[in-house]
């Protein structure tokens, strides 16, 4: 299978650099899959999980918001964060999710609500990557 070069950068580190057969991640308009020889695009990236396939092996990570640039079989992500599924503390993510959900109920302020929504999205992405459920 033809592979492509994948780079994931965050403000703290160069989180991943290597080859991949295929990846699946979320844009604000839904999930998309990328394989080699994709047409050139620049897309916004939503906070969610990213799945990698390489030599039949699969790995999952949680990534933050950002952009993804695809040119000539090079896929570059610039996102606020990235954590491999095995690095995530599912219990903590669940707590964060519940905290944000609780605050959503209590607060009416528009800015606060947007912040809570962002916290919930982050916690959810991490939970999904860690393989846990919400309930």
């Amino acid at each position: 299978m033809k592979t492509f070069k994948l780079l994931i950068r965050t403000p703290e580190r160069s989180a991943y650099e290597g080859e991949a057969d295929a990846i699946v991640f979320s844009t604000p308009e839904g999930r998309i899959g990328i394989m080699a020889n994709h047409m050139p695009i620049v897309t916004a990236v939503a906070e969610d999980t990213i799945e990698f396939k390489l030599n039949g092996e699969e790995r999952t990570a949680a990534i933050g918001q950002g952009v993804c640039k695809i040119f000539d079989n090079v896929v570059e992500f610039d996102v606020t964060s990235m954590e491999w599924s095995d690095e995530i503390d599912a219990a903590r993510a669940k707590e964060a999710f519940e905290r944000a959900a609780q605050r959503m109920k209590e607060q009416a302020d528009r800015v606060e609500q947007a912040r809570n929504q962002a916290s919930m999205a982050r916690a959810l992405a991490r939970l999904k990557a860690a393989g846990g459920g919400v309930t």
Partner: protein, 291 residues
Amino acid sequence: MSMNNTGEIKARMKSIRQTVQIANAQKLIAASRIGKAQKMLADAKPYHENIRQTIAELLALHPEVLTPFVGAGWTTSLKPGFLVLSSDTGLAGGYNSNLVKYAEQELTSMEHKPVTVLVQGHLGRDNLNKKGLPVDMTQELRAGTPTLHDAGVIAKKVMSLFEEQEVDGFGIVYTKYHSAARLEPVHEKIFPLPPETFGNAGIVRSDVTFEPSPEAVMEMLIPKYIKGFIYGCLIHAWTSELASRVSAMDSAIRNGREMLGKLTQAYNRARQAAITQEITEIVAGANALVE
């Protein structure tokens, strides 16, 4: 202080020795943190550079895509807001006073006076407030090891002031770290940014599409760019503070050692004088007995 009493001199030497020890520890801690801070700056660079490059490419293909944060120049700012980065901890030589002096001079000489000033670190906050600048004392931005989270909180705050039209632009005053010997207080613009800020995009492929739309990508990128810019400034200010502390502690150590040298001499002299006096007294007493 009298230099004749050996006990007094000894006590003073002990306290100076302790001060030198503290200064030495402070210096070592600050020096080791400088390395860490510079690594943080280097780690953040590829990400930030790429965000900047992507914005440049987007603007090259879609120059019509502007956001309120990218557009008119600084000169049109009629009610600017300012962010000043000082520190919470002293023992850093002239770091805070130089910054406060510079900030006061810059902010009071502007044609359109700042309407609000956010200050990180209570040393700068208290001083600038005393100078009559419109410092927002309710915003207690903590100084210290910079984190992305801090940068995010500040970025959100300044962007929301802009969106609520409290200000029509934001500037920043902080100390730029060029080298240990060259720390320079500077005044830069956070936004609105002229499109040239993002530099030359180089050769851009015209067949690229932006998903879901160029506007949406721009909207995603600009807050990241602003946060990244502020993060860089926080690290510069932090490194400058540490470098000031290292050199301040260096001179404190030097002064302390010099003083210890002088006191050792004074101590020996006083001790000798006391012995001489005692011998004189004994001899005089013995002579009196003989007579």
